[in-house]
């Protein structure tokens, strides 16, 4: 039987502002950003044309 404990480690020391940060940037992130730019160049062609009506009329009841 492994030893059992209820609580272990103290909270990691991290700055408060990290809590509201969006995810950090990196080199890999920059590469993905370039791919994203290409995608964003053409995405308007497939997006729902009337976003507000679409969002309003999408109603789903009776789910688990």
């Amino acid at each position: 039987m492994p030893e059992r404990t209820q609580k272990q480690r103290p909270a990691p020391q991290r700055s408060e502002e990290a809590l509201v940060d969006t995810p950090a940037k990196s080199e890999a992130g920059e590469k993905l950003k370039a791919d994203l730019d290409d995608l964003l160049d053409e995405i308007d062609d497939v997006l729902e044309t009337n976003a507000e009506d679409f969002v309003k009329s999408y109603i789903q009841k009776g789910g688990q």
């Binding site: 492994p2 272990q8 940060d21 995810p23 497939v46 997006l47 009776g62 688990q64």
Partner: protein, 504 residues
């Protein structure tokens, strides 16, 4: 020793009948599913059509009453069989409440679940194609693989894990709860904003999961209101003296196959550790329901979660705890319980990889995890057009990420890694897995559909003419595999011969 984890998923899809006036979702769901079944009928080379109804006899009274009342109230009697189809791949395809729902066949490893989940998507895509071809000009039925309409209505993607009845359920609840709360960091499908009362777009512009807003209890039987993190539905669909089926309602519908693999694989493995009582350390969250949202609302993944009795831990560190226990478990006891070495090692490898990447820079996982892929796309569009998070275009893109129409799906444009080939998934639309009882169900339906009156997870009912109906029980999910019955099924020419040789 932990029980071999037989696995499955049930997905309720969102359904939207465009330009149809007052069309109701139950009717649209019936049209969708019937269109698919009818198309199998018309296909010249197809196997015999499984016009086989679902057999409710072994369902729990609560479920039975709810399902039958709904169907008799809303659909003509003759339609009952058509909206409760059993497919030749061993899956169930039906109208549940007001949604089309597809339950995968029983699978013996997490990668096979991914394969049958992809097959399910392809079945829905083909269903849309067939249904829309028959609808009046301009009308269209569109299916979404998500879990929320963004107005406080949620619908589920449930997971199922076969467990040993001998394991105390209290231990299952205590030890799996922190996993369910913290696995959200890689299982989430992402959502713009929050549907929880009183949470503004400024407070939560984007969150990790679709479902976290909807959980109000720690443990309970409900699935449609006051949803619990650990669901107690006790309906094993197998020998109840030996087995329990853990019915998990806390997860998101994933488009990313990596997310699906990591929703099922680590959870299955952690449940093996629970059965064998092998977690190195256990933790009790002070408020798991609150923690569900704290994790989902925190894109930094750094927020400490309070522990019962003091102290705290982040979701990432909690996942590292589970991972390290699982790694040690694999070294000492092997990975047979989740399908053997290759697939088990892949679970550990990918689990470790995403935890490492989430710790340094989650955006590295934009080609692997749903919430990251969705966040990157929508935030990129937002920045380019200088929009606020509460702009309707953000919400519309969120919904359209899950659009199952190939030409409209935003997910399919993001180059997210796949784990299974579409060619294999196309085969899995009609062929069952070979290593669970789904093989027996699917093959019997392929060969003798006309003789099968009804089927469900743990039995099939045959009508072979003059005799009374014969029920073949299938109480062992690991029996009825190709290894067990493959040659028997091949040798028998008629279902009567099969029943005689089975001795039933």
């Amino acid at each position: 020793m932990a029980l071999r984890k037989i696995l499955g998923m049930e997905t309720e899809f969102g359904i939207f009948h465009r330009r149809a006036g007052d069309s109701n979702p139950i009717a649209a769901s019936s049209v969708l599913i019937n269109a698919y079944i009818n198309s199998l009928d018309r296909s010249a080379n197809a196997s015999p059509i499984p016009r086989v109804g679902w057999d409710f006899v072994d369902e729990t009274p609560a479920n039975d009453a709810r399902g039958l009342n709904l169907f008799t109230a809303m659909a003509p009697q003759v339609e009952i069989h058509l909206v409760n189809a059993v497919l030749t791949n061993g899956a169930r395809y039906y109208v549940d409440h007001a949604h089309p729902e597809l339950s995968t066949p029983e699978c013996a490893d997490p990668l096979t679940v991914v394969l049958y989940d992809r097959a399910a998507e392809m079945i829905l895509v083909e269903s849309m194609r067939q249904a829309n071809a028959a609808l009046p000009e301009g009308e269209e039925i569109v299916v979404y693989k998500n879990n929320s309409d963004r107005k406080g209505n949620s619908y589920g993607t449930h997971e199922n894990y076969l467990m040993d009845r001998a394991t105390p359920f209290s231990r299952v609840v205590a030890q799996i709860m922190p996993h369910f709360v913290t696995r959200q960091i890689y299982t989430g499908a992402g959502k713009v904003g929050s549907e929880a009362v009183g949470i503004s777009s400024e407070q939560v512009p984007f969150q990790l999961t679709q479902r976290a807003d909807f959980f109000e209890e720690q443990v309970g039987l409900e699935t449609t209101l006051k949803r619990p993190i650990v669901n107690t539905r006790d309906e094993p669909h197998a020998d109840a003296k030996k087995y329990r089926r853990l019915h998990v309602i806390v997860g998101d519908a994933n488009l990313s196959q990596v997310s699906t693999f990591l929703k099922i694989g680590p959870t299955a493995l952690v449940l093996c550790l629970v059965e064998d009582d092998c977690l190195d350390r256990t933790f009790v969250l002070k408020d798991p329901v609150l923690a569900m949202r704290q994790v989902s609302y925190d894109l930094s993944l750094r927020r400490p979660l309070e522990l019962d009795g003091g102290g705290s831990i982040t979701a990432l560190d909690m996942q590292w705890e589970y991972f390290r226990s699982a790694q040690r478990y694999a070294e000492s006891r092997g990975l047979d319980c989740i399908g053997g070495e290759p697939v088990g090692r892949e679970v550990l490898r990918r689990w470790e990889h995403v935890l490492t990447a989430l710790e340094s820079d989650p955006m590295q996982l934009a080609d692997q995890l749903d919430w990251v892929a969705k966040y990157r796309l929508i935030n990129g569009y937002r920045e380019r057009h200088d929009l606020r998070w509460n702009d309707a275009r953000m919400a519309a893109m969120d919904l359209q990420y899950h659009d199952m129409r190939p030409a409209k799906s935003l997910f399919s444009r993001l180059g997210v890694e796949t784990l299974v080939d579409d060619a294999d998934a196309a085969v899995a639309m009609s062929e069952p897995p070979e290593d669970t009882r789904a093989y027996f169900r699917g093959k019997c339906l392929q060969k003798w559909a006309d003789d099968i009156v009804a089927a469900n997870w743990d039995s099939m009912v045959f009508d072979i003419g003059d005799d009374p109906l014969r029920r073949v029980p299938m109480m062992e999910p690991t029996r009825g595999t190709k290894a067990h019955v493959g040659s028997l099924l091949a040798e028998c020419e008629t279902s009567a011969e099969l029943l005689r040789r089975l001795g039933s």
